[in-house]
Amino acid sequence: MQSNRLLIAAISLATFTAVPWIPFIATARAAPSPPDSPAFREFAQRVQQYVKLRKAPQRTTRHREEIVDRRDALAQAIRESRPDAKQGDIFTPEVSEEFRRVIQSVFQGPSASSVRRTIRQGDPVAGLRLTVNGAYPQHLPLTTVPPTLLSRLPELPERMAYRIVGHDFVLQDTEARLVIDFIPGVIP
């Protein structure tokens, strides 16, 4: 009986510890080095701090106005809750340097040509002047973020996304459509 309990506990522990790694196992082909470094951990903490500002997610509705109103209200609430936010608050110098290192390695690695091609094919946006807490313009397309690059970066919470705008690398709140922070000039 005792040994059975020990066995169940061991299996439970093994399952529990394995679960967070399932995505990495499933995508191991695309992610040779799981994103883990002190700088990325700091980044994850700062993102989590940001996420705490947000309310419950939107719900589906037939009313277009409701979606737009909620988006605008969310954006306004976020702006008000971080009025002094500036470039570099989340992408601190250390964090930016780590992102820069990973981005450079992807753009110089074996998949470099297909990564560049993905960006070119995604109707790349250029000439957009980014501001923290500024809205990503509705009429502009979103440049496809190369999956090879995404596989090398820290996973983001729901409703957050990395974006590429010209040579800038952006952290976006997709629901509020706000620029949360960015690293200028890091995309070759």
Binding site: I22, P23, F24, A26, T27, R29, A30, A31, P57, Q58, R59, T60, T61, R62, R64, E65, I67, V68, R71, S111, S114, V115, R117, T118, Q121, G122, D123, Q138, H139, P141, L142, T143, T144, V145, P146, P147, T148, L150, S151, E155, L156, A161, T174, E175, R177
Partner: protein, 298 residues
């Protein structure tokens, strides 16, 4: 005199429409009892006249070929996204279909706002990627703008657990394309194709290139691009050795019927001309019998 001119003009338009309607009545699909029937449109959300004309043509076909849902291949709403713009680019053009009970299942393109997933009539249930079943067919809808590890893990799990006879994926960026403007999305292909092969996906639909193309089977998978249901990049198709049939002279849409082990397709132009049609037999049931497909084009 001015009235006479207007009358002659309107008569000419009416007769032109009648001619087009006459051409547009041809249904090549078998309309079998109990079959899964749907339409596919991509890159349509312009709010301009060609989108409305394609939508009207779809409605006319729906009267004869009663499909009950439409898959949207992305770029559902171009440009401005105010409620008024959204109505102009979706609700109004497709109103006859919506009123007829036709459902729409959207995927996001690079011109879409991710908040479109909250719009009930897009049937995304607030998700950027999702799946749904119709009869013996399971559809897997991806967000190819943002194929992160989380989404890849999801699609692998969904495909692995699917017990449906037909597995159909759709997303915005084509893995294979002879379009000159964008071409094939080779990085996405490198990641997605092995999963599609491993788990037996038979057919993939995409948009992004503003034309129609059916690609010769690649590793046993059939690829369709339908990115001209509103936008059009005329003359942009540079046929390659992967092209089975392509069409870039006018806007278009696709009609699909699945019955048992057979998938029937018909691509139709804005003016109602059939530009491609044929049958695909489910490869698991096929066992090395060549697919039959025909094109109305030279």
């Amino acid at each position: 005199m001015q009235h006479l001119g207007r009358l002659i003009f309107l008569t000419f338009i009416f007769l032109s429409q009648k001619t087009l309607l006459a051409q547009g009545q041809e249904i090549t699909l078998p309309i079998k009892s109990g079959s899964v029937r749907f339409a596919a449109i991509g890159d349509m959300g312009t709010g301009k006249r060609p989108q409305y004309e394609v939508a009207q043509r779809m409605f006319e076909f729906q009267q004869k070929f009663p499909f009950n849902f439409v898959i949207m291949l992305g770029d559902n709403i171009y440009g401005g996204k105010s409620p008024a713009e959204l109505r102009k680019k979706f609700d109004i053009p497709y109103k006859p279909l919506l009123d007829a009970g036709v459902q729409f299942y959207a995927t996001l393109g690079n011109h879409d706002d991710t908040n479109e997933r909250f719009y009930k009539l897009f049937n995304m249930n607030g998700q950027q990627y999702y799946s749904f079943k119709k009869g013996n067919v399971q559809f897997f809808v991806l967000d190819s703008d943002y194929l992160d590890p989380k989404q890849l893990a999801w699609i692998e799990k969904e495909l692995a657990n699917s017990g449906s006879d037909w597995k159909i994926c759709y997303f915005h960026h084509p893995l294979y394309s002879s379009g000159a403007f964008h071409g094939s999305s080779t990085e996405l292909r490198k990641i997605l194709e092995p999963l599609f092969v491993k788990y037996g996906v038979q057919v993939v639909f995409s948009g992004h290139e503003h034309l129609y193309e059916r690609v010769k089977p690649q590793k046993g998978i059939y690829y369709f691009t339908e990115g001209a249901s509103g936008e059009l990049r005329a003359g942009n198709l540079k046929k390659t050795d992967i092209t089975a049939v392509g069409y870039d002279k006018d806007q278009s849409f696709l009609l699909i019927e699945i019955s048992g082990d057979d998938l029937y397709f018909q691509a139709v132009s804005r003016t109602g001309v059939t530009i491609d049609s044929g049958t695909i037999r489910r490869p698991a049931a096929l066992q090395s019998v060549a697919p039959q497909a025909k094109s109305a084009l030279p």
